[in-house]
């Protein structure tokens, strides 16, 4: 099964990348943007998706400072 894990800085943790992106947008004429957060995405093929949560806690994310979200992409066809 194909799965996608979205990882982002926890609320309250300063995200300097997000701040830099937010500052750059008005320079290009994109106004009205706030609260930009930059995270990362991991896509993977996995036989047993029930392992994903533990995988996130142990390696893919650092739960002290990051939140993660798991999406199963082809659940319908599996």
């Amino acid at each position: 099964m194909r799965a996608r894990v979205l990882i982002r800085p926890k609320a309250g943790i300063l995200d300097p990348q997000g701040v830099a992106v937010q500052r750059a947008l008005p320079a290009l004429g994109f106004d009205g943007v706030s609260d930009v957060r930059v995270g990362r995405m991991v896509e993977l093929e996995i036989e047993d998706p029930s392992q994903l949560d533990e995988m996130c806690r142990k390696l893919l994310a650092n739960p002290l400072v990051e939140d993660y979200e798991i999406e199963l992409l082809d659940a319908a066809s599996a």
Binding site: P9, I13, L14, P16, Q17, A20, L59, L60, N62, L64, V65
Partner: protein, 216 residues
């Protein structure tokens, strides 16, 4: 004589300076990331660099190295462990130290001399220092912003006023574990052991402290 072991990970770059610094105060042994034991050393240094290319997050992959299991057991038994820069990141990822190290607020890799203030002297490493003493030590990293819930008595080193260039919470530069035998810091004491090339030999104090306690 006391033996200090220094772990070499693929991508480590400060292991030889750490060996050289340790050799000023003890016998040394180079340890390899794929080893499963510590070869009987009395203290361990997890050195700086970019273990496993810093892929995913600094330290995230290195903490699963075979040797890290041995380091965890050694630390749990009270053995002194010093994590420097990437080594600090590895020890945090491994859960041996509280908190995490995030990209510097300025998003740049910074290399400069920093002044540290010794907050606690009740760890092996800082037992050679005085509370409030300043240490002049180089720092060089891109991800050194300390964030974490850490009890006040585990904050061992702080950046002196004006020296917190990475945005660390409460100017924290170094923390220890509850047992006080594991210390991590972002600046590099192993680069400040020789006045001729380091501009300061303040870093040697941490190695002297570690060797003294390990010898007991």
């Amino acid at each position: 004589m006391t033996v200090i072991g220094v772990i070499t990970f693929p991508g480590a770059c400060d292991d030889y300076d750490a060996l050289r610094a340790a050799a000023k105060v003890a016998d040394v042994k180079q340890l390899w990331h794929a080893d499963t034991d510590l070869d009987g050393v009395d203290a361990v240094v997890v050195p700086g660099g970019f273990s496993y290319g810093d892929y995913l997050r600094p330290g995230a992959i290195a903490r699963f190295s075979p040797i890290m299991q041995a380091v965890s057991e050694f630390a749990a038994a009270g053995g002194p462990v010093l994590g420097i820069c990437n080594g600090f990141q590895v020890l945090c990822e491994a859960g041996l130290l509280p908190g995490a190290l995030l990209p510097n607020t300025g998003l740049r890799f910074v290399c400069r001399q920093v002044e540290l203030e010794v907050v606690r002297t009740d760890t092996p490493f800082t037992s050679t220092c005085e509370v409030g003493e300043r240490l002049s030590i180089p720092a060089k990293h891109g991800s050194g912003r300390y964030v974490g819930e850490v009890p006040a008595d585990q904050v061992v080193l702080r950046y002196a006023p004006g020296h917190n260039f990475n945005g660390s919470q409460d100017d924290i530069a170094g923390v220890c574990n509850e047992g006080r035998n594991v210390l991590g810091l972002m600046p590099h004491p192993e680069h400040a052991v020789d006045v001729l090339v380091g501009g300061s030999a303040d870093g040697l104090k941490l190695f002297e402290g570690m060797a003294r306690v390990a010898a007991v």
